[in-house]
């Protein structure tokens, strides 16, 4: 600390508390709404303290309330989101780990060609090529499948690039030592590379889990059957301001449940997440 100025410190704390208020209030508002009755929600202003219908709302939403509205149970929506997020995170980590391993620790014709092929994908998010990618999925018969939901999102370069950067910092002596001890590439990968990469993998896992969980445009396109929707698409389909019969209490419960899992992942794995985020992007 450069100067000890209690007033400035107090101001800083007040500012941060105000910041937390901005950040947390929309979620808190939705949480309160999820504990109120539907008729209380549509009659503003709603109270700023939780209503008494929490167990009732959450219980009913899970036991068929949501299913009556969008034709798919809340558990199924949550399950789909989990499958998609984990498949994208794990799949992307595995394929990028392998390709970075090949590009850094082997010499073979077209090595740099492959690297550039992967690198170019860094630049183009799925949003700019939605129609043709959608067509590919239709042609492959992958509509409404987990493969269709996840495979196109695994084809991107961020993770490969991160692993490559990290592998390049591993001293050549280590590889040499492994080779002298007669370790083959797989042995080297399992006993040396993998343990060294644990923090990178953890960081990537958080970032990719969130990436998978928060997908919107892609799941919207490739799932037209309700039981394959992710929770975010399910939530979107429930929200209808023109329909007087929209069960707002179930909507709020679904919104809260769509927020909680990724928040838990980020908060619990915060240390790796922050390190990974700041280092991968820079």
């Amino acid at each position: 600390m450069i100067e000890n100025r209690p007033v400035a410190t107090l101001m800083a704390h007040l500012m941060l508390i105000f910041g937390i208020f901005i950040v947390a209030f929309p979620i808190y508002y939705t949480f309160i709404a999820s504990t109120a009755t539907s008729s209380a929600i549509i009659r503003p202003p709603i109270s700023l303290l939780p209503g008494g219908h929490m167990t009732e709302n959450y219980g009913e939403s899970i036991s068929g309330g949501v299913e009556r509205v969008v034709g798919v149970s809340l558990e199924r929506l949550l399950f789909n989101s989990f499958v998609v997020a984990i498949a994208i995170a794990v799949g992307k980590i595995i394929i990028s780990f392998l390709s970075a391993f090949a590009i850094v620790f082997f010499r073979f014709p077209f090595r740099m060609g492959f690297f550039w092929m992967i690198f170019v994908t860094l630049m183009l998010p799925v949003e700019v090529r939605i129609l043709p990618t959608y067509k590919v999925i239709v042609d492959l018969g992958l509509l409404n499948t987990y493969a269709g939901l996840t495979l196109p999102l695994m084809a991107s370069a961020t993770a490969t690039f991160l692993f490559r950067q990290f592998f390049l910092t591993i001293p050549g002596e280590m590889v040499e030592a492994a080779r002298i001890d007669n370790a083959g590439p797989f042995r080297f990968m399992k006993d040396i590379l993998l343990p060294l990469s644990v923090t990178n993998i953890a960081a990537l896992f958080v970032i990719l889990f969130i990436y998978g969980w928060t997908q919107y445009l892609w799941p919207l396109l490739v799932t037209d059957r309700a039981e394959m929707n992710t929770i975010i698409i399910g939530l979107r389909r429930m929200v209808d301001f023109t329909d007087a019969s929209t069960p707002w209490n179930y909507v709020m419960v679904t919104a809260i449940l769509a927020i909680i899992p990724p928040v838990i992942v980020v908060v619990l794995m915060q240390r790796w997440f922050v390190k990974g985020l700041v280092e991968t992007e820079k």
Binding site: Y29, P44, P125, R129, I130, R236, K282
Partner: protein, 293 residues
């Protein structure tokens, strides 16, 4: 470049294969299809298509709706980036001065990162939609005719606020990292010379943060261009009267709703060019020129 390598000849191909296959099937093939289709025109039933060269491009560039979407996107991106970065910088400098509670503040600040853009949009919509939002109710009771479903400017401010809210976490973390990297000796020297907080900020901290700021500006623009589709789709649906129709939303709308494939593909290609330009700009310009450290 690793100097020591394994001698295998076939194995590396097997190792890169999964990624290359995915990249070719879901990236190069669709991208080339987009290029091809952007030069074709299909009849409305999709039965025939004919080569029209660059006509789709000249059509969209002459199309008032497209130019309108371009303007909307620029306004939306700039407003989102500036609002979010401004708040994040303010909070990051505050977090840099406090000692107690730092961890707690950071934990709270990263929460919006985990919220899906579409859900972030809905959270703000719950508070501000005219039918049931408490804040809409308060605004109206105070005589402000608040209705984002009819008023384009209000709809725009709602999506900007939701998009900026979601992005605060990201900007906050990067500004905190940027602030930590500033050598304390510089600030101490300035303090000894009698420069107070605000002056130190503008003459030392802010210039030294320039690389972070430029980096975030590019990232936030890309975010506002692409990742906010969910916010716009779930909050305004591009309306009212196309007031919040961004370029990505228009690609989706023309391709999947209006089924105008040629135009949608041409728009995709324009978007690709924009992203490539932004990324190249970031790599070339930002990384090299704006470097004081």
């Amino acid at each position: 470049m690793q100097s020591v390598v394994f001698p295998n000849k076939i194995l590396p191909y097997a190792l890169v294969a999964p990624q290359i296959v995915l990249t070719v099937v879901f990236f190069f093939w669709p991208a080339s299809q987009a290029l091809y289709q952007s030069m074709m025109r299909e009849d409305p039933f999709g039965l025939q298509s004919s080569f029209v060269g660059l006509a789709n491009f000249s059509n969209i560039l002459a199309d008032e709706n497209y130019l309108h979407a371009l303007r909307v996107t620029v306004v939306f991106s700039l407003a989102t980036a500036l609002l979010s970065m401004g708040i994040a910088l303010l909070l990051a400098t505050a977090a840099d001065t406090v000692v107690r509670g730092k961890g707690f503040y950071r934990t709270m600040m990263i929460i919006p990162y985990a919220v899906a853009p579409a859900v972030a949009g809905m959270l703000w919509l719950f508070m501000f939609n005219p039918a049931m939002g408490t804040f809409a109710y308060i605004l109206r009771r105070n005589g402000i005719p608040w209705d984002p479903l009819l008023n384009g400017d209000q709809a725009m401010s709602l999506v900007v606020v939701a998009a900026a809210w979601k992005q605060i976490s990201y900007n906050f973390l990067f500004f905190v990292a940027g602030l930590q990297a500033i050598p304390k000796s510089l600030l101490e020297a300035a303090a000894i010379d009698g420069a107070r907080g605000a002056r130190r900020f503008w003459t030392i901290v802010f210039p030294l943060l320039a690389p972070t700021t430029f980096f975030l500006l590019v990232i936030n623009t890309v975010y506002a261009f692409f990742d906010t589709f969910g916010i716009i789709h779930s909050v305004t649906g591009g309306g009212p009267a196309k007031a919040t129709e961004t370029l990505v939303y228009k690609v989706y709308n023309d391709g999947f709703v209006n089924l105008n494939l040629g135009s949608s593909a041409a728009q995709s290609v324009v978007l690709m060019v924009i992203v490539i330009a932004l990324t190249a700009f970031q790599f070339r310009f930002v990384e090299r020129r704006v470097h004081y450290g």
